[in-house]
Amino acid sequence: MTGKPPTLGRAVDRGLAPFRGRRAASLLPRTRLGGPVPWVIAIMVALCVLAAGGALALSNLAASARGDLAGSATVQIIEADNDLRAEQARRIAGLLREDPAVTGLRMVPESEVAALLEPWLGSGEAVDAVPLPALIDLELAAEVDEDALAELETRIAAYAPSARIDSQETWLAPVLDALRTLQFMALSLIGLLAFAGVAAVWLAARNALGGNRDTIEIVHLLGGSDAQIASVFQRSILLDAIAGGLLGLVLGAGAIALLANRFAALDSGMVAAGSLSAIDWVILAMVPLFAVVIAVYTARMTVLASLRKML
């Protein structure tokens, strides 16, 4: 009645071969893992890109401010007697010119000093009675630090007890501090976003595991290894993460471009100094890449931990 059963194929290779690709992916009904995950990842990535862009702009700003001012200082000589002051300034300048720490020196003309102080002192005859300080702008060799500057100050004090050297970095310090704080906050924000992203993927993976428990058990009993089953979930989350990451990058980068555009309209040198370089944009483009890696890794660890509870 029946005829012979089909020739049963040669015994299959029973190594623990990978079970990948479209076929493996078909083990999960596509809709299960999808849901909100790509959107959550898109939002996380957009916010991360924005925060990272801000952090990079601040760091560019700080670097450029430091670069402009680093290596410069001003000598100030306060002396009521005009002749004495001029003599002191001349002698100090002579001394500093010899000093290897000083690479450039300019006596600031009295008219310029007057112009500098005008906002505070006003102008007019009464002011002529106020003795102006003598100023010498210095350019310093790269390796000169605060200590060397202090040492220089004691040496010129021999010529003019009232002479002071102001490193411009000193008064820039609070500004740089503020920038650093902002940067720190941006980086903390990125860390928190990454954490929230991990939590979202963890929840989604657990949910998908629960929804596919039967399928997983069957594949498990047919000899599917943990790694094989995990790779099915990984693949699913990989596609979600790539979609979400790209969308997030577009949104985040769009927002940065818009902001840059608005700030550029302010036409301030300070803002121009904060603009992003090509390398910065490459770093921003890496954000979704990191998001994908973190998401896939989280999904894998979640699934493996859950599978380990099965025999």
């Binding site: 049963l8 194929g9 029973r14 990978p18 594949v219 009993l221 000899g223 943990d226």
Partner: protein, 243 residues
């Protein structure tokens, strides 16, 4: 060659309890030899499914020793279990087909898990579906198949990879006698190729159809040996046995 060395499965004083209940299986000791055809009988609730679950590594025993393919599976590291499961074919009492996969994909699953390439598996899978009479239903989801059709898909999936041992739990419970016979012939064909077959059933008509089979009987969780199947060398069951 000693009995231990040639045995494919060996249970030594195995006990199983679910949770804190009384033992469902007690003092189960037996040895299965390669290439033989075993029936496992017993009343409903006697523990047949429980014993088979131990056999296909879905359940750990509460006590006792188990060796399969010459390896102690109790102390074996967890990551070696998949390799062992691939050497077995299982027909579950409740079929356990994957709902959202077609009959074809369900049958192909063990081959895919074992890393058989797509172009190598279509032929064998379709042949097997033809043979269980479901060639025309290859694209159907399990939910759209009758109980007997689902059972045939489950059987096709269990034998497709030509396992070293086939474990079938009531594999003919939902099919007509003619189909039951056809399925038993499939098991016999597999058996002749060297596969050890263990079939749980309470259908004595079916047992009689396989004269060379050996019979294990479970009675309230303990194993009896009416035909000397568990002795070594195993005594062949007399044909027409009434257990």
């Amino acid at each position: 060659m000693s009995a231990k060395e040639s045995a494919i499965v060996q249970f030594d004083n195995v006990g199983l309890r679910y949770g804190t209940e009384r033992e469902v299986l007690s003092n189960i000791s037996f040895t299965l030899f390669p290439g033989r055809f075993y029936f496992l009988t017993g009343a409903s609730g006697a523990g047949k499914t429980s014993l088979l679950k131990l056999l296909y590594l879905a359940q750990r025993p509460s006590r006792g020793g188990m060796r399969m393919f010459g390896t102690d599976v109790i102390t074996m590291p967890r990551d070696e279990l998949p390799g062992f499961r691939r050497r077995m074919g299982v027909v579950f009492q409740d079929f356990r087909l994957v709902d959202h996969l077609s009959a074809f994909d369900n049958v192909a699953l063990p081959l895919r898990v074992s890393g058989v390439r797509e172009r190598d598996l279509a032929g064998p899978v379709n042949d097997m579906l033809d043979w269980v009479g479901l060639g025309h239903r290859a694209d159907a989801r399990p939910a759209t198949l009758s109980g007997g059709e689902q059972q045939r898909v489950a059987i096709a999936r269990a034998v497709i990879a030509r396992p070293e041992i086939l474990v079938a739990d009531e594999p003919t419970g939902n099919v007509d006698p003619e189909m039951a016979l056809k399925l038993i012939r499939l098991f016999e064909a597999l058996n002749r190729l060297g596969t050890t077959v263990v079939v749980a059933t309470h259908d004595y008509q079916l047992i009689r159809k396989v004269p060379e089979s050996l019979i294990m009987r479970l009675d309230k969780g303990t194993l009896s040996d009416p035909t000397g199947a568990l002795r070594y060398p195993p005594k062949r069951a007399p044909s027409g046995v009434e257990a």
